[in-house]
Symmetry: C2
Subunit: 226 residues, 2 copies
Amino acid sequence: MSPSYYSQFPKFHVAVDCIIFGFEQGHLKVLLQKRPFEPHRGEWSLMGGFVKADEDIDDAAQRVLNQLTGLHDIYMKQVGAFGNVSRDTGNRVISVAYFALVNIERVNAELNHGNSAYWEDMEKLPPLLFDHKEMIQSALKKLRAMIGHMPISFQLLPKLFTLTQLQMLYEAILGQKIDKRNFRKRVSEMTFIEKTNQVDKLTSKRGAALYRFNVETFNQEPIFKL
Amino acid sequence: MSPSYYSQFPKFHVAVDCIIFGFEQGHLKVLLQKRPFEPHRGEWSLMGGFVKADEDIDDAAQRVLNQLTGLHDIYMKQVGAFGNVSRDTGNRVISVAYFALVNIERVNAELNHGNSAYWEDMEKLPPLLFDHKEMIQSALKKLRAMIGHMPISFQLLPKLFTLTQLQMLYEAILGQKIDKRNFRKRVSEMTFIEKTNQVDKLTSKRGAALYRFNVETFNQEPIFKL
DNA sequence: TCAAAAGTGTTAAGTTTACACCCATGA
DNA sequence: TCATGGGTGTAAACTTAACACTTTTGA
């Protein structure tokens, strides 16, 4: 081993930035933070953190997510590395963006507020620090490309959900209306989206059947098309 | 500006690794290098390089590509950041992988050999350093997802090409056979894939019509479906 | 004259889209 | 009783997939 060849090269701060998506009342949300340190203290930004010396970058993303939400073992997908020289005006930082999909009800609201973090509507994002808006757009693009093939969107919903909720979620992510009958037809072809005998009466007088995503059934026939 | 908050955090070597795809005689190839420095000198690896202090990571990828091929201004797509603690056994290095598609005829073979780099068949890759095989697999996956929607595959071919060559290219990238008539029907719907009046007689006695990708026509109607 | 690659259309199957009314219930 | 959201099926348009023979020409 000769690390001396490496040592002639410069080193960089490496950070992770987390795009944490949630879904509430028909709207796709992102968890944004009022930056708690200089430079740019108080401006809206993604929640980020520097990678530690003995930490995988994927683990750093999990750690940051956990700090902000209290959640563990959440599926996170890397969006990519952002490494322009002047992207961070404080100092050079190369940042790797990750996104996660979480159920807002399960996140620890006190942790959020302790970090000055709030759920903001994707349709009216405030101005954001550095290239954070670009990171969010890339994450959304990746998410859109994925939701049709992988059952990840369920992470955004409660365990039990109505088909109207599920449809609104897809509409919010894709940014377009979906035909109700076509959507429900496709859902009914997926046996791992199970109807329960419970009913939600919060949004209608008649009540809507509650459904559940069954992981075991999905593992037996992991074919997902929405 | 207060960079002092940042300075408490560790710094890392950041590298770029380039997956350079080529296409020759019906086979998808990658440019691999016998590593010219320790540790692991002489083992097969991707061509990489450390990011410089005042260099965007995208530019670092272009620089490395240029060093190895002599080519400029080649479209490169980021594959992602690879940042496990122990991925590089020499020292911790966080690496960002990029892929490029090049026409083998246009790369400078002397530069290749000066860098101990050779075109290796994607179907029989040698054992590779670190996580480089994983990088190649991710790059191929991304490439497969892209070639149906973007006319990037033409980068791999000479300016003039036959439809058989184009089809073999798609088959090599996708790893599956394509029906000739269906393929040619789809090609004929894309007016920016133009038939020239030139003929290639290298692979058949009858001769095959040579085609060209017309950028201007594509820009007018940038709808690509293969 | 024949081997080898180029070139050429049609049909069936499957997928996607468009579309409108009745149901159950609480206020 | 009526306003509100829940629930349901069919037909046309479009896309994809399967399939086999003729042409040209140099050796």
